[in-house]
């Protein structure tokens, strides 16, 4: 469904991503993991074409994205950046914006319908006409996810969607993401820093080290050895009440 072939990206001649190849399928929730500055955010932006790859291809359902316009890519990939500010507009306005790749110049009744459906799916009916400036961090995060969902994408790319949220909101947001991924048969790739959250909610793991792919696979690749190699950290993984918990022990000296 999503296929990366030897994807490379360089900024001002400095290579940032090198030969990244992997393949992920529909209905999968993938965690993109790696230390700060290893190229996770760059990888997401290169996948959806905000950054132009130096070489290599990205295919969604067998279609190479480098031949497509920004609008056509936006109909296939929804993206949520790391930081999101607020704008003086209602939640409905903010979410409706996600329909832009579909409606062109003027909103159609179908666009309004899709926005309503997504707002209801995420339980945000009460917030619909509130100003986004009045929302809490968790609520705002839902708005941004809703905007990506109304794009009716096949792939959802989320850059650190839960980092600045409190624990309850982290779990809630991840549950919502897992639910929509399964219900809508999407592929969701999420940059995460909390390995316990990653293990609990993701079923695929993409480990990035120094701009290259270290491993990509299911739960099997998340071993204490892989964590040591990628994060430079000793850790053990425990099972508590059926929930995998990563216990960091200390950095590798």
């Amino acid at each position: 469904m999503l296929e990366l072939n030897e994807l490379c990206f360089a900024f001002n001649g400095t290579p940032i991503l090198q030969d990244i190849s992997f393949r992920l399928g529909r209905g999968e929730m993938a965690a993109l993991l790696g230390v700060n500055g290893c190229g996770k955010s760059t990888l997401l932006k290169t996948i959806n074409g905000i950054l132009k790859p130096k070489q290599g291809t990205v295919m969604v359902e067998g279609v190479a994205l480098n031949g497509l316009s920004g609008k056509e890519i936006a109909r296939r990939i929804g993206y949520m950046p790391q930081k999101s500010g607020t704008v003086l507009c209602t939640v409905f306005d903010a979410v409706l914006l996600g329909r832009k790749p579909h409606f062109g110049r003027t909103v159609t009744p179908r666009d309004l319908e899709v926005v309503e459906d997504v707002l209801q799916r995420l339980g945000m009916e009460q917030l619909a006409l509130r100003e986004t400036t009045e929302l809490s961090g968790g609520e705002l995060q839902k708005v941004v996810i809703a905007r990506a969902l109304v794009q009716e994408p096949k792939v959802l790319l989320l850059d650190e969607p839960v980092n600045h949220l409190d624990v309850r909101n982290q779990l809630e947001t991840m549950s919502i993401l897992r639910e929509v991924t399964q219900d809508l048969d999407l592929l969701t790739i999420t940059v995460l820093h909390d390995l316990t959250i990653a293990l609990r909610y993701a079923d695929r793991f993409v480990l990035i080290k120094d701009g290259g792919l270290h491993a990509c696979g299911d739960r099997e690749v998340m071993t204490p050895g892989a964590i040591r190699d990628v994060f430079g950290m000793h850790a053990t993984i425990h099972d508590i009440d059926g929930i995998p918990v990563v216990l960091p022990l200390g950095s590798v000296q």
Binding site: K45, N48, I50, S69, G70, K71, E72, I73, A74, R75, I77, G78, Y79, P81, K83, S84, G85, V87, L88, C89, T90, F92, D93, A94, L97, G98, K100, P101, F103, R105, P109, R110, L112, E113, V114, V115, E116, D117, V118, L119, Q120, R121, E125, A128, L129, E131, T133, L149, V150, Q151, E152, D183, L184
Partner: protein, 366 residues
């Protein structure tokens, strides 16, 4: 895909009410536009009545209805008050939309024609024409302290000066890796540069030339005749149409470059074309009328209080607010110390500064 999954699980009545509520909210925003329009028509009527020659409504309406009539009333209305009123509306509207767009594409609430050096570029061009090319080398006359011999040359040079500022800013904005904050700062530097260049010219000029070049910078609606109005109007209309077509692109840009790009918008292209059209509108207005401060900055901020940051409504609201602000300022400039007509630029800056401070404190409270 999403809707097909969802409509099954949600009742149709609930589905329709959410969109209906939203559409109802949007209609309220239209009300603000209509209110502004009504105020503008009222102010325009008042503007036509204001002047040293007292005219009853019946005569004003008769002169407006019949363009063939001649005589004192017809002359005053057709050649003096109506062009002035039209200039206020067109220039105010033009500055209003330019400010609204610049504030978004440069991501700075302080962005305005003033801040990015376009006005100062125009002032330098005018000073260059008056002092260096001798367009204002003229004797004082009894009716006016300063007259300008070759107004077309001054306008042309002012336009070129504004355009130079625009080209510089556009070149900078189109460079990769240059942030929008840097563009604003460059505008400040550019303003200082043009200011210094103007002062240098003035230092070597005689006193009449200095007076003429200083006088030119006072934004004054009295400079506008029908030709000027038509040109200002056409540029404003073209820019407005262009921005209106891209209203959703501007809405997307509010959320940041990355969000806009992920929605398929060519951000750099949008930024450069939007700057080009808004700067052109400002350049034409400034070249004909001189520097009119604060309208381009204030109008969008005031409009935002009522319609929010939604370019579907903000563009027209900023245009109407700008037109209304300039028209009211012009009326004040005419009735404050009769029979003296103050340059409207002085009034807008006087009124603009405290109004802006008020907006800042209000924003903080919100």
């Amino acid at each position: 895909m999403i809707s097909s999954v969802n409509t099954a699980g949600s009742s149709p009545s609930a589905t329709s009410s959410l969109a209906d509520d939203y559409l109802r909210l949007l209609r309220k925003k239209n009300l603000f536009g209509l209110t502004l329009l009504a105020l503008l028509i009222f102010a325009a009527g008042f503007s036509l009545r204001t002047g040293s020659l007292a005219l009853p409504w019946s005569e004003i309406l008769r002169a407006l209805g019949d363009w063939e009539t001649t005589g004192r009333t017809a002359h005053v209305i057709h050649q003096i008050r109506l062009p002035r009123t039209a200039a206020a509306i067109l220039a105010g509207g033009s500055l209003g939309i330019a400010g609204a767009v610049m504030q978004n594409v440069l991501k700075n609430p302080l962005a305005s024609p003033f801040t990015i050096g376009v006005s100062q570029g125009a002032a330098f061009g005018a000073a260059f024409a008056i002092i260096f090319l001798g367009a204002g080398q003229t004797h004082s006359s009894a009716s006016s302290a300063v007259t300008i011999d070759l107004p077309n040359l001054v306008v042309l040079c002012a336009f070129v000066g504004a355009l130079l500022a625009v080209i510089f800013i556009l070149m900078l904005a189109s460079l990769k890796g240059v942030t929008t904050e840097a563009v604003i700062l460059a505008g400040v530097a550019l303003s200082a540069f043009f200011g210094a260049a103007t002062m240098l010219l003035q230092y070597f000029a005689d006193d009449v030339q200095v007076a003429a070049s200083v006088f030119w910078t006072f934004g004054d609606l009295g400079k506008a005749g029908w030709t000027e109005n038509i040109l200002i109007g056409i540029t404003a209309l073209v820019a407005f149409a262009f921005f209106l077509i891209g209203r959703w692109e501007h809405n997307a840009l509010l959320w940041g470059d990355e969000v806009a790009a992920s929605l398929g918008i060519r951000v750099r292209h949008l930024r450069i074309t939007a700057m080009l059209f808004s700067a052109l509108a400002v350049a034409v207005t400034t070249a004909f009328l001189g520097i009119i401060g604060f309208i381009g900055l204030m109008a969008p901020h005031l409009a935002r209080l009522f319609v929010g940051n939604d370019y579907r409504y903000l563009l027209i609201s900023s245009a109407l607010t700008g037109a209304l602000l300039l028209l009211v300022s012009d009326i004040i400039s005419r009735i404050l110390i009769p029979p003296v007509i103050l340059p409207v630029g002085i009034i807008t800056s006087f009124a603009g500064a405290p109004l802006f401070l008020y907006l800042l404190t209000r924003r903080r409270k919100n």
